[in-house]
C-alpha cells in the first residue's frame, strides 16, 4: 500500500518553493541581462582584450568551483585533486580541437565553426574526465575525510606527472598551437548551462539523496538511499563538469602546460568553494569572481598570492565558518519581492503622510 493512498485524496499542498519553474525563468532572465551587458561592453571595446580574458578565466573558475561543490559541498567529501580532472578535460579537449580544426572548416546548421569544435571536444573532455572520476571515485568510497583528501591529492599529482612525461601531450614543454576558438558567448553560456544543470539536479530526489549522505551516511542508508551509487554519481558529475571547465580553459589560452594543473590549482578551487560556502552554488560563483579578480588586481604582489589564500581561509574559518553564503542560494525572485514590498511600504507611508497633512 502506497503512503499517498493511505492518506487518501488530500488537497495538493503548496509545493516547496524551490520547485517552482518561474524561479528558474526569472533567474535565467537575470543571467541573460548580465550576458547582454558584458557582451556589449566587450564588443564595443569598452572592456579590452585583457579584461575579456579575465572574464573567461572567471567563468572557468565558476565552472570549476561549482563542480567541486557537488563533491565537497553537497556530498561532503574532501577532494584536493580537482585540478587533475580539469587537466584531463583540458588536454582531451585540446587534442580533439587540434585534430578537428583543419577538418571542420564550416559551420553546421545553426552552429558556428568554433561552437561546433568546442561542443565536440568538450563532450570528449566530459567523457574522459568522468571516466577518471569513476576510477578515482570507486576506491575513494572506502575512505573518509583526510584520507580521501590525501588520495585525491595524490591523484592530481599523478595526472600532472603523467602529463609531464608523456610525448603526445607535449610533455613538460606544454601543448602548443591549440586553436583559440573560445569566445565570450560560448564560455558564458556553457558556464550558465552547467550552473543551471547543477542547480536543477540538486533540487531533485537525486540531489537530496546526495545531501543526505553529507548529513549522515548511516541514517541515509537506513532510509533506503543507495549510498554507493550516489557517492559515485556525485564524484562523476563533479569530475565531468570539471573536465568541461578544463576544456574552456584550454581553448582560451591556446597553450597548456602541466604546471598549471598542480596542487596549487586544486587548492585555489577548494578555497573558492570554502569561501563561497560549502553547498551553495551562488556562493561559489561570487567567490570565484572575487578570487579571480583579486589576484589580477594585485599582480605586483603575485608571490604573496598563496599567503593571501591561507589568510583568507583562516579568517573565513574564524569569523564565518559556513562561508559567504552558507548553504543558501541567490534567489532573484525573492529579492524582487523584497524590493516590491519595500516600495509598496514606502508608497503606503507616503500616502499616510499625505493623508495626515490634509
Amino acid at each position: 500500500m502506497g503512503l499517498s493512498k493511505l492518506f487518501g485524496t488530500v488537497l495538493p499542498h503548496k509545493a516547496y518553493k524551490k520547485l517552482s519553474i518561474s524561479t528558474v525563468f526569472i533567474n535565467l532572465a537575470f543571467v541573460t541581462i548580465i550576458f547582454l551587458v558584458l557582451n556589449t561592453l566587450i564588443n564595443t571595446g569598452i572592456l579590452n582584450r585583457y579584461y575579456s580574458t579575465i572574464i573567461v578565466l572567471v567563468l572557468v573558475a565558476i565552472v570549476m568551483s561549482a563542480s567541486l561543490n557537488i563533491a565537497t559541498g553537497f556530498l561532503g567529501q574532501l577532494v584536493l585533486g580537482h585540478a587533475g580532472f580539469m587537466a584531463i578535460g583540458a588536454y582531451t579537449a585540446a587534442l580533439i580541437g587540434i585534430a578537428l580544426y583543419p577538418v571542420i572548416t564550416d559551420g553546421f546548421l545553426f552552429l558556428s565553426r568554433n561552437l561546433l569544435i568546442f561542443l565536440i571536444s568538450a563532450s570528449g573532455a566530459a567523457l574522459t574526465a568522468s571516466i577518471a572520476g569513476l576510477l578515482v571515485g570507486t576506491p575513494a568510497l572506502r575512505l573518509r575525510g583526510d584520507y580521501l583528501g590525501i588520495m585525491t591529492l595524490g591523484f592530481g599529482e599523478i595526472v600532472r606527472i603523467i602529463l609531464t612525461n608523456v610525448e603526445f601531450t607535449g610533455g613538460a614543454q606544454g601543448l602548443k598551437a591549440i586553436p583559440r576558438i573560445m569566445t565570450f558567448p560560448i564560455a558564458f553560456w556553457t558556464t550558465a548551462t552547467i550552473v543551471l544543470v547543477i542547480y536543477l539536479f540538486m533540487f531533485s530526489r537525486h540531489g537530496r539523496a546526495i545531501l543526505s549522505i553529507r548529513e549522515d551516511e548511516i541514517a541515509s542508508e537506513s532510509v533506503g538511499i543507495n549510498i554507493t551509487k550516489y557517492k559515485i554519481m556525485g564524484f562523476v558529475l563533479a569530475s565531468m563538469f570539471g573536465g568541461i571547465g578544463g576544456a574552456i580553459f584550454a581553448f582560451q589560452g591556446g597553450f597548456l602546460a602541466p604546471v598549471s594543473f598542480g596542487f596549487i590549482k586544486s587548492v585555489e578551487i577548494f578555497v573558492i568553494v570554502v569561501l563561497g560556502g560549502m553547498g551553495s552554488i551562488s556562493g561559489a560563483i561570487v567567490a570565484a569572481i572575487f578570487l579571480t579578480f583579486l589576484p589580477e588586481l594585485l599582480r605586483d604582489f603575485d608571490q604573496y598570492r598563496l599567503l593571501l589564500y591561507s589568510m583568507m581561509l583562516i579568517l573565513t574559518m574564524l569569523f564565518r565558518p559556513q562561508g559567504m553564503m552558507g548553504t543558501k542560494e541567490f534567489d532573484t525572485p525573492r529579492y524582487l519581492r523584497a524590493l516590491k514590498r519595500f516600495f509598496l511600504r514606502k508608497k503606503k507611508t507616503d500616502d499616510l503622510l499625505k493623508g495626515s497633512d490634509q
Binding site: 500500500m1 502506497g2 503512503l3 499517498s4 493511505l6 492518506f7 488530500v10 495538493p12 499542498h13 503548496k14 509545493a15 516547496y16 520547485l19 519553474i21 544543470v197 536543477l200 539536479f201 533540487f203 531533485s204 530526489r205 537525486h206 540531489g207 537530496r208 539523496a209 545531501l211 543526505s212 548529513e215 549522515d216 548511516i218 541514517a219 541515509s220 542508508e221 537506513s222 532510509v223 533506503g224 538511499i225 543507495n226 549510498i227 554519481m233 548553504t327
Partner: protein, 252 residues
C-alpha cells in the same frame, strides 16, 4: 508467513558472542518490546536486523525474503525501517526535506527528468510534498516544515525521526530507545504517538526501551535479553514476575 522471522541469530566479534541464538517471530500489526540491561545486545540485534552487521550464524526473513547479503538500503525496501538510539537526523536539511529523502524510493523519475523537470517529475515531487506534509501533520510538526531539523526541540526531533522512518512505507518499524532523554510528559506523549502510528499505518513495531512504564504500558509481548541470550518472553504481566528478569536487572 510472519512479517519478520529470525532464527538462531548469532554474531561474534572475535571471542565475544554479542548475540547468541536470538529468535523472533513478528506478526503483522504487533507491538513487541525488546528489553534488557545495558550491553545486553539489543542494539546489536537491531543492527543485524537492518543489515548493518552480517550475522555469523542464523537467518533473518523480512516479509518472506532472506536478508542475507543484502545491504541496509535494500532491507529498507523490503519493508523494515528504523530509528536510532542517538538521533540521526539530516540536521542541516529542512524538516520536510528530511521526510522527502526517505520518500526517495517511492519515486521513480530518473536523472534526466530531474534536470528537465518534466511532468513525471512534477507529479512525483508534488506527491512527495503531499505525503510529507500529511506525515508531519500526524506528528504535529507541520508548522515546522521549513525549519532546519537541528533547530527542533529534542522531543520533536524524536518524532521527526519516526516520521522519517515511516516515509519509507515500512511494514515493520524498529524503534531504538525512542524515549531516551525524554521527560515523563514527553514519554506519555510518545506512547500515544506509537500507538497511533501502529493503528494508522498498520505497521508492526519492535521497540527497544529502558523506560519500563512505556514498555509495560504499550507492548503486547516482551522479549528480555541478557548477554546476548533470550532469558524470558511473554506478556508484560509475566515478565514483571519472571525470576530470571528480576535477577538480570537487580542481581541476586
Amino acid at each position: 508467513m510472519a512479517l519478520l522471522e529470525v532464527k538462531d541469530l548469532t554474531i561474534r566479534f572475535g571471542g565475544l558472542t554479542a548475540v547468541d541464538n536470538f529468535e523472533l517471530i513478528l506478526e503483522s500489526n504487533e507491538l513487541v518490546g525488546l528489553i534488557g540491561p545495558n550491553g545486553a545486545g539489543k542494539t546489536t540485534i537491531f543492527n543485524l536486523l537492518t543489515g548493518v552487521y552480517a550475522p555469523t550464524e542464523g537467518s533473518i526473513h523480512v516479509d518472506g525474503v532472506n536478508t542475507k547479503n543484502k545491504k541496509p538500503n535494500q532491507i529498507v525496501m523490503l519493508g523494515s525501517s528504523r530509528t536510532f538510539q542517538n538521533i540521526r537526523l539530516f540536521k542541516d536539511m529542512s524538516v520536510i526535506d528530511n521526510i522527502k529523502v526517505a520518500y526517495h524510493n517511492q519515486m521513480t523519475y530518473n536523472l534526466l527528468s530531474s534536470i528537465v523537470k518534466n511532468k513525471k517529475f512534477r507529479r512525483e515531487e508534488q506527491e512527495a510534498v503531499d505525503v510529507a506534509v500529511e506525515l508531519l501533520k500526524v506528528f504535529g510538526l507541520e508548522q515546522f516544515q521549513n525549519e532546519l531539523a537541528k533547530n527542533l526541540p529534542y522531543g520533536k526531533q524524536r518524532k521527526l525521526e519516526i516520521a522519517r522512518a515511516l516515509a519509507t512505507n515500512p511494514k515493520i518499524l524498529l524503534l531504538d530507545e525512542p524515549a531516551a532523554g525524554m521527560n515523563p510528559q514527553e514519554t506519555e506523549e510518545l506512547m500515544e504517538t506509537i500507538k497511533l502510528v501502529k493503528e494508522r499505518f498498520k505497521v508492526s513495531v519492535l521497540l527497544i526501551e529502558h523506560d519500563m512504564k512505556l514498555v509495560m504500558g504499550i507492548c503486547e509481548r516482551i522479549i528480555v535479553v541478557d548477554y546476548g541470550k533470550i532469558i524470558a518472553k511473554g506478556s508484560p504481566k509475566e515478565i514483571r514476575k519472571d525470576k530470571a528478569v528480576i535477577k538480570a536487572y537487580l542481581g541476586e
